[in-house]
């Protein structure tokens, strides 16, 4: 398959770029932040996105979706990365919807997917329990009591957890921390008795929650009991690739703004972009970004093609993108100089978003290790 996007995908990308530039530029994120918006995103905007089909882009037609494919979704995420648009696209459109799509039974899909697509339902994955992402190390307990399970434990860094309607909670029904077997996904109402949600503003001005579970009754299993790990892995692989596409947009925009600045800003009577040391550093970044672009489209195609190597591709993509966005946003601040350190200048927002995205669904070291593990070394 050629590593280029087709006309339909290009049209979506272009129209998304125009829409976002107008409706959700970086200034909109700044506004959400300065207003201390606890929702973390603009509800009306999300509604509009849903109406355009963004939340149901990869959902099959039978559940009201567009079945447009992942390469297309990637273009959307990339454009949202460029404008740093805050929305439940990642938490719900990418992760929540996928968990239901891949693990849910027919009834669950029919009940939930159309609502997600319509922008009416926020469903987010509650998986991390400590600072480092490591699904197999999940310890949250789910003990069977009659027809129900009782959940106890704590989840952290739950994206949009403060406004979610439904939580997909990964808990341990068997085995011990470190075992891949024995994990189960539960669909839990966010209002359920025993749930306490602590809202947290993150560095990127988006929101996440710390959620504690005290004897929370969960009746609804998503997928198979004890067998959740495999489908969870698929969900997370797709999540990694999706967020990589978003990060690609963020790094491209940050880089382009930096190159523009290098051309405009004068020091010692010449544009600073005429200094060879900065030129070479810019050229190195250009190269790394080219590599990232190839990885993202290759990985997006791999989802569409059910490539059996998806996990390895997801990990290498997330790792490489994570390191490159670190490089690019750090260099951006340095090259903008004092101006880049001020909150008035937007470039800092890119570095902050980069930092949060880097640790979402596993950081560089996690994915580097996983990549090697998958190859058997």
């Amino acid at each position: 398959m050629a590593l280029i996007i087709n006309e339909e995908q290009q049209m979506l990308k272009t129209s998304a770029a125009e829409f976002l530039k107008e409706k959700a530029p970086v200034a909109a994120l700044r506004k959400l932040r300065d207003e201390k918006n606890q929702q973390g995103y603009d509800q009306a905007l999300w509604q509009q996105m849903a109406e355009m089909g963004w939340a149901s882009l990869v959902i099959p037609e039978q559940y009201g979706g567009l079945d447009f494919g992942y390469v297309g979704l990637g273009q959307l995420l990339e454009e949202m990365g460029r404008t740093l648009t805050a929305s439940p696209m990642v938490s719900t459109g990418l992760v929540g919807a996928h968990a239901i799509l891949l693990a849910g039974n027919a009834a669950q899909k029919e009940r939930l997917l159309p609502a997600i697509g319509a922008g009416e339902l926020i469903v987010t994955l509650a998986i991390d329990e400590r600072r480092q992402h490591h699904p197999a190390k999940t310890t949250m307990s789910a003990v069977k009591q009659g027809n129900e399970y009782v959940l106890n434990g704590k989840k952290v860094f739950v994206l949009d957890g403060q406004v979610a309607n439904q939580l997909i909670v990964v808990a341990r029904t068997a085995g011990k921390a470190g075992d891949e077997a024995g994990l189960t996904m539960f669909l839990v109402d966010a209002q359920a008795q025993g749930i306490e949600i602590g809202h947290q503003q993150m560095m990127d001005s988006r929101n996440a929650a710390t959620i504690s579970f005290e004897n929370v009754k969960a009746a609804e299993v998503l997928g198979q009991v004890d067998q959740g790990f495999e489908v969870l892995t698929q969900v997370l692989d797709i999540a990694c690739i999706g967020i990589s596409a978003e990060m690609l947009g963020t790094m491209c925009e940050a880089f382009e703004r930096t190159v523009k600045y290098l051309k405009e800003r004068k020091q010692f009577g010449v544009p600073i972009g005429s200094f060879q040391a900065l030129q070479h550093r810019a050229a190195l970044m250009y190269g790394e970004i080219e590599i990232c672009k190839s990885m993202v489209i290759k990985a997006l195609q791999a989802i569409d093609q059910n490539n059996p190597d998806l996990s390895r591709m997801a990990s290498m993509t997330k790792a490489k993108i994570g390191e490159t966005i670190r490089l690019v946003t750090n260099e951006a601040i340095q090259m903008f100089g004092g101006i880049g350190m001020t909150d008035d200048e937007e470039i800092g927002f890119f570095m902050k978003r980069a930092r949060v995205a880097q640790v979402t669904f596993g950081d560089y070291n996690y994915h580097l290790d996983r990549y090697a593990r998958l190859l058997g070394f």
Binding site: M202, S205, Q334, M341, D343, M351, V359, D363, N365
Partner: protein, 395 residues
């Protein structure tokens, strides 16, 4: 200068020790937690405590806020050796510095070298006595690394200068009584030769300030605007159009301070913080990549400290330091940025918390703040240029 015998010094040490023990309040015998906790002086002084006030006044009265300045200007008149003794004795008791100000660390040295008698008398005395809070006006939005490219103009109006323009990164300008500035007095001269060093009253009509919010949040930095500000002629320091040499003198001074000081706070070694965050697995940090990164950082950090030590020893032995301070500035700030990169990695998603206050998101905000280390006080690029030109002779 008269030579002081070892015996004299021993006597001085004994007296000083006794005096400090008698006069430094208990609550002052600890390292201040932040720059917010130190005493800055000024026309509207703000003391953290009665003890802080008492300590400042006692030290001021001995001239020990500026121990080596001449007594005639409110200083202590101490020799280099005596000053060393005083510092050693203060360190022994962990006494806080009684007065911290850019007047002492920056303007003072400039006035001592370049000021006329009247200026010394007036300003040094006020600085020693903590009566005036000074801030610094060098940088401008259009200048940046090209400091000499500054555009703030001072026009000679016969009996006064008329100043218009804008300064940026003027730390604490909101609190300051006075500002020492570089201004352009000859717009036709080559850029380094048309600059003068001017003292401006912040209360003058036409001066205004605006605080700067950084990517890390609230900061002490301001922008300072001058809109047709009248400045008396006697506020010119040194010759007209010869301000650049004063600026250079102070910049070298500043760079060696930044590079040399190291982190004053005592904190756990990085590997210990790593163990706390990530834990051990079979005796090794439970992330082999981070383990190697941290080992590398610690090795470089210790190497840097030893290099500062070696350079100090070499200087004592008469070898010139030259432009080495640029290397220290470069390496120290790059190491500090890297340290915060590692702390972020160690703390994963927890490090991404920002919260509503600085303390809630301290790590993330400190991290953001470190990004400025390689920009302020001369960018890393400028330091590498200096090393390359002045140490290696490339150019």
């Amino acid at each position: 200068m008269e030579t002081i015998t070892q015996q004299d010094l021993d006597v001085f040490r004994a007296e000083t020790r006794a005096w400090l023990e008698a006069n430094c309040p208990e609550s002052i015998r600890q390292t201040p937690k932040s720059m917010e906790d130190v005493f800055w002086g000024g026309s509207n002084p703000h003391y953290k405590s009665e003890d802080q006030k008492r300590w400042f006044e006692r030290m001021r009265d001995r001239g020990w806020t500026t121990p080596m300045w001449p007594k005639a200007y409110g200083g202590g008149g101490l020799s280099k050796q005596q000053n060393k003794v005083l510092l050693e004795e203060m360190t022994r008791l962990n006494c806080q510095t009684p007065l911290f100000s850019f007047g002492i660390s920056m303007l003072g040295p400039a006035l001592l070298k370049f000021g006329n008698e009247a200026q010394k008398k007036e300003h040094l005395t006020a600085i020693s006595r903590g009566e005036v809070w000074w801030c610094q006006g060098y940088s401008e939005p259009g200048a940046g690394s090209d400091l000499a490219g500054l555009q703030t103009r001072a026009e000679d109006m016969g009996d006064h200068y008329l100043v218009s323009g804008q300064k940026v990164w003027t730390s604490y300008a909101e609190n300051a009584d006075m500002i020492f500035c570089l201004v352009r007095t000859n717009p036709d001269a080559k850029k380094h030769t048309g600059i003068s060093f001017l003292l401006i009253d912040m209360q003058s009509e036409g001066v205004s300030t605006r605080p700067i919010r950084l990517i890390s949040g609230k900061s002490v930095f301001c922008e300072t605007f001058f809109d047709n500000v009248k400045v008396p002629k006697e506020n010119l320091v040194g010759e007209l159009n010869a301000g650049w040499s004063i600026a250079k003198y102070l910049l070298t001074h500043e760079r060696s301070m930044i590079g040399g000081i190291g982190d004053v706070r005592k904190e756990k070694p990085l590997f210990q913080m790593a163990i706390d965050a990530v834990g051990l697995d079979n005796g090794k940090l439970d992330d082999p990549v981070l383990r190697a990164d941290i080992a590398r950082w610690m090795i470089d950090q210790e190497g840097l400290m030893w290099t500062i030590e070696r350079t100090t020893d070499e200087a004592k032995a008469g070898q010139p330091i030259g432009a080495k301070s640029s290397f220290f500035k470069y390496y120290y700030t790059e190491q500090n940025k890297l340290k915060y990169e590692l702390l972020m990695a160690l703390n994963g998603t927890e490090a991404a918390i920002w919260g509503d206050t600085y303390d809630e998101g301290k790590l993330a905000r400190d991290f953001c703040r470190t990004k400025g280390n390689s920009i302020e006080g001369g960018t890393s690029e400028i330091q590498l240029n200096i090393i390359s030109k002045h140490i290696l002779g490339l150019g």
